[in-house]
Every structure is written in C-alpha cells, then in structure tokens.
C-alpha cells in the first residue's frame, strides 16, 4: 500500500516539475515536450487512481492528438529561410536530457505496475464498461451536446484556417 503512495508521489513530482518547466520555457517546442511529459505523468496518476480508460484517453487524445496539433502550428509559424538551422539548434542533444530523465522515471513506474501482479491499480477501479453504460444512459444528452460543440469547433477552425492558407498561397505565388 505504501508503495502505491510512493509511485503516486513520484508521478506527482514529475508532473509538477514538468509543468513548471513548460510555463517557464521561452521556446515553444521545448515547452511542448515538457507539457507532453506532464500529461503522461497525469495519465499514470489516473491509472493509479483506478481509471484505466481515462488514462488511455489522456495519452491518446491529450498527449497525442492535441499536442500534435500544437506542434503542427508551431512548425507552421516557423516557415522561413533560417528554419533548418533553427530546428537544428532547437533539437540539440542536451535539450533532451530533462525530458529524457522524466520519461525514464515514468517508464520505470509503468513497467513496475505492469510486472508487479498484486498492485495494478489501487482499490476498486472503474472499468471502461461501467463508464460506457453510464455515458450512453443518463449522460446521453451531454454526449450529443459535446458532439455539437466539436462540430462547431470543426467549422470554426476550418473557417479561420482556410483564410490563413489562402493568404499564404497568394504570398508564395
């Protein structure tokens, strides 16, 4: 039981320090990498709290899709002559030390959780099945509202981005 607590505090420490480093970076790419580490640490905490489905969603949607969207925009805004040299400077090997250490700590914790058979998640977890039954039962209206929100965001993002892309194309031509 106390081991579980130690895993939680370690993940919390990684998450807090990675978040502080995210907010204090001056370089957007470096901040994004620390933010991804922070989200992975929070996903591990979800797993420890007995919410494996939320942990998977955190990694797939937050650390995956949303952060890739950020990365796309950061890379799009840096189109220019000196981009290649800048990328090389940004991705210098010593920049990877901090995120690498954090990610290694999280990987060790995850390996420990997977290999150790008796401590998987603490206490009584909530399985994806229960979440699904609740989600499409009493919360059906909320799901529909979320889908409308996502549709509105899709239309809005397309509208804003299309004008940008057209202007860029004219600049290039």
């Amino acid at each position: 039981m106390s081991l579980e607590l130690a895993l939680f505090y370690l993940a919390a420490l990684v998450s807090l320090s990675a978040t502080v480093l995210t907010v204090t970076r001056t370089n957007a790419s470096h901040a994004l990498i620390y933010l991804i580490i922070s989200l992975l640490a929070v996903a591990l905490i979800f797993f420890l709290l007995g919410a494996p489905f939320a942990a998977a969603l955190e990694i797939v949607i937050y650390a995956g899709a949303i952060m890739v969207l950020f990365l796309f925009v950061v890379m799009m805004l840096n189109l220019g002559r000196e981009t290649v040299a800048q990328e090389r400077r940004w991705l210098a090997p010593k920049m990877w030390i901090g995120p690498g250490i954090f990610a290694a700590v999280l990987l060790l914790e995850l390996l420990y959780l997977i290999v150790g058979t008796e401590v998987v998640t603490s206490g009584k977890g909530v399985s994806p099945k229960e979440v699904g039954i609740e989600l499409f039962g009493p919360y059906l209206l909320a799901v529909e509202l979320a889908s409308i929100l996502l549709l509105a965001a899709l239309v809005g993002a397309f509208h804003l981005g299309r004008r940008y892309m057209r202007a860029r194309r004219e600049e290039i031509e």
Partner: protein
C-alpha cells in the same frame, strides 16, 4: 472506507497546484501559444480533480466529466490555434497585446 489508497486530499492538492501553475502561466506569458498551453494545463488539472472524486466513491461519473472536459479542450484548441494563425497573419507576431485594440 475509501475506494483508493491514495488520499484524495493529496490528489486535490496536486490538481490545485497544477491549476495554479496554469493560471500563473496565463497571467504572466504574453505569447499566444504559451497562453493556450497554460489553458490546457488548467483544464487537465480540472480533469484530475474529477477523476480523483470519481475514484474516491468508485463511480463512473468522474470519468464521464473528464471526457466532456477532453471534448471541450479539443474544441478550444482547434479554434484557438486557428486564431493564432490569424494573429500571425495580421500582426506578424504572436504577442497577445498586439490584438488588444478591438478596432474595426
């Protein structure tokens, strides 16, 4: 009687700390990309609080609220990044104060 052995108070303190870091980021940084990242940190902290509450009573509702926050974060980022592209096009920098004129 708690369903989890991790004390909920500690998880809530962590969520509050993450939220505060995000809030400080929103207030201090002036680059729009960092502003959006800080907003993501704040929303993620809210999700952590919901998951902790759901785990405390072993109910699925916490995870459902987390999923709704996830949908909100995805929608916000899509529109926010579209606005970032517009800001870059119109003002040629990413300073949020450049867009404070609100004149037509």
């Amino acid at each position: 009687m708690t369903a989890v052995s991790v004390p909920i108070e500690h998880v809530l303190v962590l969520a509050a700390a993450l939220f505060t870091i995000g809030l400080v980021g929103v207030l201090v940084r002036r680059n729009v990309i960092f502003l959006l990242m800080s907003l993501e940190i704040m929303m993620n902290a809210c999700g952590l609080a919901f998951i902790a509450a759901g785990a405390r009573w072993a109910e699925a509702d916490g995870q459902i609220m987390y999923m709704l926050i996830l949908a909100l974060a995805a929608a916000e980022v899509a529109v926010g990044l579209g606005l970032v592209l517009q800001l870059q096009r119109r003002f040629d920098n990413l300073d949020i104060d450049a867009a404070s004129e609100l004149a037509g």
